[in-house]
């Protein structure tokens, strides 16, 4: 099922929001989980993004769909963080077991069952702005210019947030 093509540009049919939910739901859930750090909030964020997609699909220009979805997810996530700062809620974090060694090569470590959850726990501890930049860069695969545009911040700020975020992750994981 696809929607009408965009005016003046009939090369690629515009997907419907249902198409997007089916084809990119798992991707979107992954991004949401990396951002929020827990499954309930990730589900809420996915719902919010798809609601926004359903309402704003007309404004989407077929192209980098994952980039567009991630941009919506990131901004909704940061909006929610700011809202919760105004109305603090008690959050129950996922508590990982004690950290496993980090000296081996990445592939071998990732093969260990528990590394992803420790890494996710460390990502969840990052300041939301750093976390968002890292997720857009390393999970979604956007370049710095795309991240800067998505978050409406200078490219230099993107560079700084990614570097500082990775440094904090390294410190957290050591």
């Amino acid at each position: 099922m696809t929607g009408p093509t965009q005016p003046g540009g009939p090369l690629t049919p515009r997907p419907t929001w249902e198409d997007i939910a089916r084809s990119h739901g798992r991707f979107l859930y992954t991004v949401a989980y990396r951002l929020t750090g827990n499954r309930d909030d990730a589900q809420d964020l996915v719902q919010d993004v798809l609601l926004r997609v359903r309402r704003g699909l007309d404004s989407y220009t077929p192209g980098n769909l994952e980039g567009w979805l991630s941009r919506i997810a990131s901004n909704l996530f940061l909006d929610e963080v700011r809202r919760k700062k105004r109305r603090p809620l008690h959050v129950v974090p996922d508590l990982p077991d004690p950290w496993v060694g980090l000296e081996a090569d990445p592939e071998a470590e990732l093969a260990k069952e528990r590394l992803p959850e420790h890494l996710q726990a460390a990502i969840s501890k990052l300041p939301p702005e750093f976390r968002t930049a890292i997720v857009l860069c390393d999970v979604v695969g956007l370049d710095y210019a795309e991240i800067a545009e998505a978050l409406d911040i200078p490219a230099g700020t993107v560079r700084s947030r990614i570097h500082r975020g990775r440094a904090l992750l390294r410190k957290e994981l050591q």
């Binding site: 991707f27 890292i134 990614i162 990775r166």
Partner: protein
């Protein structure tokens, strides 16, 4: 820029291939000479590769299908509706109690040993399919004209009562909530571990049972168990909605229903 200025946040840009022109040349020259920055680059590259190798997450089974089927939920609207909806839940339950005449104040000293698992099982047995609620609702209203036409998010869709306990089931078509009420004081030692919450001035405990949460609390001479899905927000809304200081409610003034009714759902403490 000297080659001996450390790279700082240019490390990430170097790793990600985001440096161009002079910055790229300077960074390359610096790394040839600076062991410190090489170690920083190696460490950051390791962290980066870990993140990039993380597997995709699996959403809960049926989660995406449900969204496609019913449409994404508007949580902002839901928040507003839940606040109003809980008030209606309490009010419609109160009307129901009035109608059935089971809201009498009791001074019993019975101790209620909660069977949390039984509440959950009973709740789930009565809400096997939310799709059936519409027909249940219509059937109830066609045969029980004395039941209140619930409004807003939560409709009373089922009830049952016996000599010791009553259960009311409410639904908004997506989430189902059961309210169990039993005369007596809770045996807190038997409640088990959970998240402590305040329900008005009373103590409450929220017990996580996987797909649902169970809120146990006492009001007046009754012990209550509210069973609801965590995502519905009902448990916390009920805890917040309970007044901390007893007083006449709008419902009380509107209906002059009496103390037993108010006590039933804690509107008077």
């Amino acid at each position: 820029m000297s080659n001996f200025d450390h790279l700082g946040d240019r490390v990430s840009a170097w790793i990600d291939g985001e440096l161009i022109g002079d910055e790229l040349d300077h960074a390359a020259a610096h790394l040839d000479q600076c062991e410190h920055c090489r170690s920083v680059v190696d460490a950051e590259r390791t962290v980066r590769s870990w993140i990039r190798l993380l597997p995709q997450e699996e959403p809960p089974p049926g989660f995406l299908d449900k969204i496609v089927l019913t449409g994404p939920r508007d949580r902002r609207s839901d928040r507003r509706r839940v606040r109003f909806g809980v008030a209606n839940l309490v009010a419609s339950a109160a009307v129901w109690v009035l109608v059935l005449g089971v809201g009498q104040l009791s001074n019993t000293s019975t101790t209620v040993t909660p069977r949390v698992g039984s509440f959950v099982t009973t709740h789930q047995a009565n809400v096997v399919s939310t799709a059936s609620f519409g027909s249940v609702d219509r059937q109830m209203h066609s045969t029980r004209s004395d039941l209140p036409p619930a409004t807003s998010r939560f409709d009373l869709v089922a009830f049952r009562t016996d000599s010791s306990m009553t259960q009311a089931v409410y639904s908004d078509g997506v989430d189902a909530v059961s309210v169990f009420r039993q005369v007596g004081a809770l045996d807190w030692d038997a409640v088990g571990d959970g998240r402590a919450v305040s329900v008005g001035e009373s103590r409450g405990v929220v017990i996580d049972r996987g797909d649902v949460e169970v809120l146990m609390f006492e009001r007046g001479d009754y012990a209550y168990a509210v069973v609801a899905p965590p995502s519905s927000g009902v448990i916390d809304e009920i805890a917040v909605a309970m007044p901390s200081s007893p007083g006449p409610s709008l419902w009380d003034r509107a209906t002059d229903a009496g103390r037993g009714l108010l006590d039933c759902f804690g509107l008077r403490g």
